[in-house]
């Protein structure tokens, strides 16, 4: 312990004294280049964790929620535009994304300790997990939906009568947000008993 402290003290000494051997130019330029490499590397790694391939590399995602997504319009549709996992589950803006990624470190814990590593365990946790997502989307006014489905550009005349009626009243007034009505559009719903409106 004492030797470790001495080592740290040594390093602190190196850090707080001006450099004797290297020029200021070298240190500035070197720091700049190293910064680019580290920052680029960090962002690249972050983007890798933000792909569907990464999500379904865990069997928990691949065998449960991903197969359910495959049946829905967000996976396969007439125009071939599709949403991948992070499009709905990770905010697109950088600061929000980092906040979400920090929250998601809990999921690494879950993966290591096998919280949902069987179908039965997953189904047992499904309501809780779904409620987390509903609460998140309710709190951020369905931000991830609105990344693609922008209310400003909805043409009510092209919507079905019922859709038009709900969108022009409850959604337009801000009284309701997407997730209030559109629960379970990309995955199967858990036992809905007790959920308001169900």
């Amino acid at each position: 312990m004492k030797s470790l402290l001495a080592l740290l003290k040594d390093y602190w000494g190196i850090l707080r004294r001006p450099s004797v051997h290297y020029s200021l130019g070298f240190l500035t330029l070197g720091g700049f280049i190293a910064g680019i490499i580290f920052w680029g590397g960090f962002n690249t790694a972050l983007e890798v964790t933000n792909t569907e391939q990464f999500c379904i590399s865990c069997h928990e995602m691949r065998d449960n929620v991903y197969v359910e997504l495959k049946d829905t319009i967000h996976y396969s549709n007439r125009s071939g535009v599709r949403a991948t996992c992070p499009d709905c589950h990770v905010p697109h803006q950088w600061s929000d994304k980092i906040a979400r990624k920090m929250q998601a470190s809990k999921e690494v814990w879950g993966k290591i300790f096998g919280t949902i590593n069987t179908r039965d365990k997953f189904l047992a946790h499904r309501r809780t997990l779904a409620e987390h997502e509903w609460a998140r989307l309710k709190a951020n006014d369905s931000l991830e939906c609105r990344n693609c489905h922008n209310f400003e550009f909805m043409d009510f005349t092209r919507q079905a009568q019922r859709a038009r009626q709900m969108h022009s009243t409850a959604l337009a007034s801000g009284e309701a947000t997407c997730i209030d009505c559109h629960k379970g559009i990309a995955h199967k719903l858990p036992d809905m008993s007790g959920v308001p409106g169900w």
Binding site: T72, A160, Q161, R162, L189, M192, W198
Partner: protein, 161 residues
């Protein structure tokens, strides 16, 4: 005569019988219906999948007890043990919010007519009786006349004196 030749003879007779032409078609024409034309063994290209009707216009019932058909698309509606998406609009509470017709009072009764707090389990699975319709013509015609037509015909019939 050597009986060892018998199987061979039988085989030859069978071959001749098969080779002989039959005077009826082996491949009968298929009945009209879903895929008219062609024969039973032929596989024709399937007709394109029709869209679900989504006009939100109530359709006439053919008789009063008929479960009304669903006048809108119900694709990807979840309807299972976990949840019933139809009831989010058509339940007692939901119909006020959505202005959709409320399911009838009979759906809140058990088979003895006792009123229940929630939808009766035997009425829970909507699509057992109520179905959406596709934009297609009937495959086979029929001459069904509803009771109004029959009553009208009777009223307008020349009276016997």
């Amino acid at each position: 005569m050597n009986f060892r030749l018998l199987p061979l003879l039988l085989l030859a007779a069978f071959g001749i019988a098969v080779a002989a032409e039959v005077n009826y078609p082996l491949d009968a024409p298929a009945p009209d219906g879903r895929r008219p034309g062609g024969t039973i063994s032929q596989s024709l290209p399937p007709p394109p999948i029709a869209n679900e009707e989504n006009k939100d216009l109530k359709r006439e019932r053919n008789y009063p007890e008929q479960p009304p058909t669903i006048p809108h698309s119900i694709s990807s509606y979840q309807l299972d043990k976990n949840g019933n998406q139809c009831l989010t609009c058509h339940s007692r509470a939901g119909s006020a919010r959505s202005q959709a017709p409320m399911i009838s009072i009979t759906h809140y009764m058990d088979r003895d007519g006792q009123a229940l707090a929630a939808v009766s389990p035997r009425r829970y699975f909507c699509t057992q009786c109520h179905v959406s319709q596709n934009e297609v013509q009937p495959l086979v015609g029929n001459s069904f006349e509803n009771i109004d037509t029959l009553l009208q015909n009777e009223a307008n019939a020349p009276t016997k004196t």
